[in-house]
Subunit: 146 residues, 2 copies
DNA sequence: GCTTCTCCCATTGACGCCCATATGGTCCCA
DNA sequence: TGGGACCATATGGGCGTCAATGGGAGAAGC
């Protein structure tokens, strides 16, 4: 199963490190990814993380839109200008920098959320709220699986 | 019989495991399913469980709409972030994680409910209530055999 | 110099795989 | 038809492995 699924919450240690869930690390090493690209999500207060190929995907999406639209401009600003590279330590941990903390509100714990072709870093409470809202919205629209 | 039918209640052991009813396991192995996809149901306080094709269906549905829309993002939050792959141990048991407990209210016993192409995990009392309500609602709408 | 970031090792707790037991049902045969 | 052997399922527990976490020491930068 070669995609990012499920969610898990891990604690940040005294040095500001947090373990990436082993299921996610397995997906990364499957794809031969050694360096991760992180940027601020467009719709949620979360940091999106993936391999370099994640850029390709967003660039394709931008190309599909009007290149001078507000949406395309914002995307480029966030993806190209606002992204940072991070790499994991030998135990599979990453440093939670201020770049991550400020945008997400993360302080002591990080919720890792699988999003298929990438994953995200959330403040635990914020994720719980967003998920509840998503479920509520879905109920109101009457959409059902299948 | 390659559909999930009927219901059964099993006990969770001291390690947090519960046996999947053998009738359900038979349906799974018939379909060659080794990994199960579980997600929090959109309507009931239950966990829905099925093969990976369940997730494929969701992903097709998402791919059909604008992948950067709020609706698609919310759906991904639920089916990717709120979904888990689990596998059974050699005896056909699964771990009842907090992911399952928190959403369903399950504590000591699990009711497995067949739903045709998938099955669900319920807190026994909650299932009894939901079933009673379904019966009642049907009566009020005028009982019809389909 | 001191701080900050790596890498390395230790601990602990959870999870996986294995084997053992009980309970209830079915089939066979006298 | 009744008894008993056999079987399958559900359940309980031991034990090894691995992931998550904590802390120390060396290297690099300010």
């Amino acid at each position: 199963m070669n995609r990012f699924l499920s969610h898990a919450t891990n604690r940040i240690d005294a040095k500001g490190r947090v373990s990436v869930p082993s299921a996610f690390r397995a997906v990364l090493s499957d794809g031969g990814v050694r360096e991760l690209y992180c940027f601020q999500d467009f719709v949620f207060p979360a940091i999106s993380v993936g391999g370099p190929e994640l850029l390709d995907r967003f660039e394709k999406q931008m190309a599909a839109e009007d290149p001078f639209s507000d949406a395309a401009n914002q995307m480029s600003l966030l993806v190209h200008g606002g992204g940072v590279f991070v790499k994991l330590d030998p135990e599979g941990r990453l440093m939670v920098t201020d770049f991550i903390r400020d945008f997400t509100g993360i302080s002591t714990d990080v919720t890792f959320v699988g999003r298929g072709d990438h994953f995200q870093l959330w403040e635990p409470q914020a994720f719980a709220r967003a998920q509840a809202e998503a479920r509520e919205g879905r109920k109101q629209r009457g959409l059902r699986p299948e």
